[in-house]
Structure formats: C-alpha cells, structure tokens
Symmetry: C2
Subunit: 330 residues, 2 copies
C-alpha cells in the first residue's frame, strides 16, 4: 500500500528543483500537477509523468490488471484536475524476472482499459528489467494556456467544492491492509474505490469550459493535503464548514469506532477534484457538473487569512497539512 | 550493469501490444524508437519515455549524477536517431529510503546537465518511494511528420553508415564489471564511454535535414542488434564490409586477447547512430555530418536478400541478432 511520506517528498522535490535551470517562460510553474511547453499562439503542450511502484503503491489484493489501470488513472486524474484532455499515453515498464506471459498480458490489458476508458490510447513505451514492478505512465495533451486550471488562482471569497464523496479509499485501504475479511455491508464499495479508482475527467473538462474555476487539484494525497496545496499556491486560507464524507465511509467508521472526519480529511489515493469557484459563477459551475452527472458539493470558502480551518457545528479546529501519516508503517 | 535480455524483451513487448487497441492513424507505428501524435498540418508531437533502473542498469562505479545524466542521454539519443529536437523533459523518480540530501542533489544535477547539454530543460516530474532507484525520463518534441527518420525506410542498395566508432562501451563495461583496476593505456576512454555517454543529437538533426537518410536507429542495444532492427523494419538485409572498431577498443582487445569484432558488433549502451543513406545523396549526408564535426563512416550496403552478413577480407559470416547475451550474468 502506498504510504507516501508527503512532507519528505516535498523536501526531495525542492532539493531537485534547486539543481535545475528553469526554462524561460514556462507556461506552468514547477509544482503544479502537470507541466507544459509553449507551442505558440496561446497553445501549450501539456505533459505529465508518474509511476506506480509495486512494493509501495500496490496493495497485495490488487491484480496486475488493476495496478496497470491505476497507473493510467492517476496520471489522467492530474489532467482532469487541470481541465486538459489526454491525447496520448506512453508507458515505461520495469518488470521483475518472475513475471510470466499471463502477468504481462494483464498489465497490457490494464493499461489499455485505463486508456480507453478516458478516450485515449497507449501509443508507445519501453520495457526493461527491474527488481520491483514499475509502471510509469506519461500523458500528452494540448490546450489553450489560459484554460488550464492551476493550483494558484484561488481568491478570498471563492467557494470550495468537490466532485464527490471522500473517505472511501481511507476505509478501503484499511480493509485491505488489515485483511479484514468480515467487514460490514459497505465492504465492496470501499475496496472497489481503492482497486478501481475513477478519474474525474469529464467533470474537469466540463468545469474548465465554464471559466468559473479559479484553482483545482486532484485529491490523490487526501482532501486535507489538497486544500493546503491550493492554499499555499494561491496564498489564501480555507474555512471548511461541511465534510463531504461518503455514506459508506460513515457506516464503516461507525462499525469500526473510527472518526469519519479523519477518514474524510486524511485519506488519499482518491481522485476527486478539489476546486475553488467564483461565487457569482457557482450556478454555472454546478450546472456544468450536473451536465456530466456530477453533484458538485460546496464544502466551504477561501479566506484571506492563511489558515485551513474546519468549522463544524460551531466547533473550530485546524486541518493539518498531512496525508497518510496516520497509516504509515515502519 | 545492464544485462538486458533483448529477445525476451521483444516477446514482452509483443504480448503487451496484443492487448492494446491501436490509435487510428498513428504517425509512427509501434516498435520504432519514439512515438508520435498528429497535431494536424503534417505536424506531430513526438514522445519518448524510458527508465534507468538502479540494480540492472547502473554499474557500481557510476555516480548518481552520471546515472541521472545517462537517463536523460539515452532518451535524447532516441530523438537524435529520429532527427527530432527535444523541447522539454519530464522525470519520474523512484527513490530508495536510504538516499540522503546529497544523493538527491546529485540526481538533480545529473538530470540538469543532461538536459542542458542538449539544449533543453526539465520542466516537471514526480517522485515517490521505491525499493530500487528508478530514473524515468520522458521527452517531448514536435516536428514535421515527413522529416522523421524511421527504422523502416531502408532500400536495397542504400549505404549503411555510422556516426562514430564502436566497441568502447563493450570494453568499458567489461573493465567496470570485472573491476580490472590495472588495464592498459586505453582505460580512461573506455570507462568514460560508459559513464559519460554522448547522444548524437546534432548529427541526427543535421542528417535529417538532408533528406538523404532512409532509416535510422541508435545503437543502444549494440551494432548487430541495430542492423537487425533496421533489416526487420525495412525488410532488407545488410552486407557489412567494414567494422567501425574504435582504436581504443582494438588496443583493449589485443591486450586482453579478445576478438575486436565481438566488442564492435555485440556491445551496447553506446549511442552512435546507425543509418541507411541513398547512394546518390551520400556526399550530401557526409558533408552535413562533417558540418557538425562528425566523420560519417560507411560500413556496407543494404541488400534485397534478408540476411545480415559480415564480409571482411574475403571471409563471410552471419551477424547474429543479439545484444548483450555473451555478457549475461546468472
């Protein structure tokens, strides 16, 4: 299971960035979900690459087909968050020696089903030997520079909204990692949220077209982390007054004596979009989401004060800038 | 050290390809060195991704900085072979826990120096934890579709040429893997060819502009393998009548009682270009190469008969479709 030390990762990225000469006039600054290259006439090529690593990112009960599909979905999700259509995918595979022909087949099928689900194709790639299974995926797309939903545009007063419920993957990962084989009636939905994640591509594309969105990110590192990322990039804070907890996650929390707020805020490996929206364009954004069968859920407001605060039933607390740490092993 | 089982790799790629729906009108078929996406008006986006894996691809004496640089160079080399200028690079890193801040710094420096040497930049990427060091690099470029030098255009009668000498990396890898610490006077050049590989980007771009090249590939899997790949993709054979053995490799072979032909043909991790050229445009190609300080070396001819044959001093033998197998461990 993925137990990314998110804070450690940020320091690593900073260290690497310090060594890099920066391309002049980069259309998207370092640190957003995707990168871009200017093609002229306001058009940009949009690029993304991220890898799935066997031992750290793939739960034991996930099939190779699901793992390969997920490697595609997590990359597509970043395009979704930016409102960019993926046009072509590349893959680079590191394969342990023990894999057989059937395993390779399953990896191919997973890659293809992820690509086709989001209307694109695998157009090439490379394979080599590795001690751990590595599925690296790269995405290419093009768009108008001004249409990209960055992390950095949120303004105080903007509404904060999400494209769906949270907490399912936090519960599902817990079920999978603790091998709870006799959990309650919500088991299937929760486990499925981990094994068959869905990128919110149609939602991201529809919302991008409205021009109502001021900032956007996917929630792959959890809702709390996503809010902090937008806050940091946009130099705002958030006052969250509604937790978008999934009904199934709420039942799971109750059955297992867990705090549903923790599952909702500090999960991860979920691919909802977290967006800020101009208040006067809220209805427009909501309608655009509804047009692709998405119920856009308002959860709070951006604030000038740079704290990320939860205010539920009159009780106020800080939302911490953390992802998985409560699950962290070793 | 890299000990890729090249034939096994081809079977793996075929198995994966069988699972993939193919994008209609792909500008470059599966199996060439790069992939492409049509942007309209004969323009294509060119994409490549490949990874370096710590335990299998990085000799023990290679520094992290050299390894990161090499991960860039091997990807740029594929663009060089196709005559396409790389415009932007992405990287995805899998980092073992043991790495410290200095190690990360060295990786960042290597990535940057590789990018800057070839006139481009790292524009983004991602990092995560992995049990083995993984440095995955993706390259983006654009070009006119018709200008791409594919593997598949060689015609019987075309001249075969290479951009430089062969055998140095085969010797260098041998020195590094056998920890020969007291080899002859050629040691530095040979080891350097492994640790600091050079992509023939200027050469590839200059040759592409002539329109004289009918097929091209880089020699990362060795000269023999490269010839067989062009032969297979172009449905031709080759009669090779000159072996472009490096002077240093020849001395090393003599000192170590090795066959220089084996070092020349069946090495790898070298990044010269192997090209076929229309005979009537040979002088044009040669001049273009000379313009970027490259001595284009003719080594034989493409033939209608589909064998890859070596004919030196009246003795004829088959060139085998193999890369590293004679070095293979385990």
């Amino acid at each position: 299971l993925k137990r990314r030390a998110v804070l450690g990762e940020r320091r690593i990225i900073r260290t690497i960035l310090e060594q890099l000469d920066q391309m002049p006039d980069m259309p998207i600054p370092f640190g957003d979900d995707v990168s871009a290259y200017s093609l002229g006439n306001d058009q940009v090529a949009v690029l993304k690459t991220d890898m799935l690593v066997g031992r750290t990112d793939i739960p034991r009960t996930m099939t190779l087909r699901q793992a390969a599909r997920k490697a595609v979905v997590m990359n597509i999700s970043d395009f979704a968050a930016k409102g960019v259509r993926p046009l072509a995918l590349m893959t680079s595979l590191g394969l342990p020696r023990g894999l057989g022909e059937r395993d390779i087949e399953q990896i191919g099928r997973g890659l293809n089903s992820g690509a086709r689900q989001y209307g694109t194709y695998i157009v090439g790639g490379d394979t080599g030997e590795a001690s751990d299974l590595i599925i690296s995926v790269s995405v290419f797309g093009t768009t108008e520079k001004t249409s990209i939903m960055l992390r950095s545009g949120a303004q105080p007063g903007d509404m904060v909204a999400v494209t769906g419920p949270f907490g399912e993957t936090a519960a599902g990962l817990r079920i999978l990692s603790e091998d709870q084989r006799k959990p309650g009636r919500t088991w299937k939905t929760l486990v499925r949220s981990v094994l068959m994640p869905q990128a919110r591509l149609r939602e991201g594309l529809a919302l991008s077209r409205t021009g109502a969105v001021t900032a956007s990110i996917d929630s792959s590192d959890g809702l709390a982390w996503s809010l902090h990322e937008i806050a940091r990039a946009s130099k705002v804070g958030f006052l969250i007054d509604k937790l978008p907890t999934s009904e199934e996650a709420r039942v799971f929390a109750q059955e297992n004596k867990l705090d549903p707020a923790i599952l909702t805020l500090y999960g991860g490996e979920e691919y909802e979009l977290v967006l800020t929206i101009r208040p006067r364009q809220w209805q427009e954004a909501r309608r655009a989401a509804a047009g692709v069968n998405c119920n856009l859920v308002p959860i709070g407001k951006a604030t000038a004060e740079k704290h990320v605060v939860l205010n539920i039933e009159g009780r106020t607390s800080r939302i911490k800038a953390k992802g998985y740490e409560h699950f962290k092993r070793s």
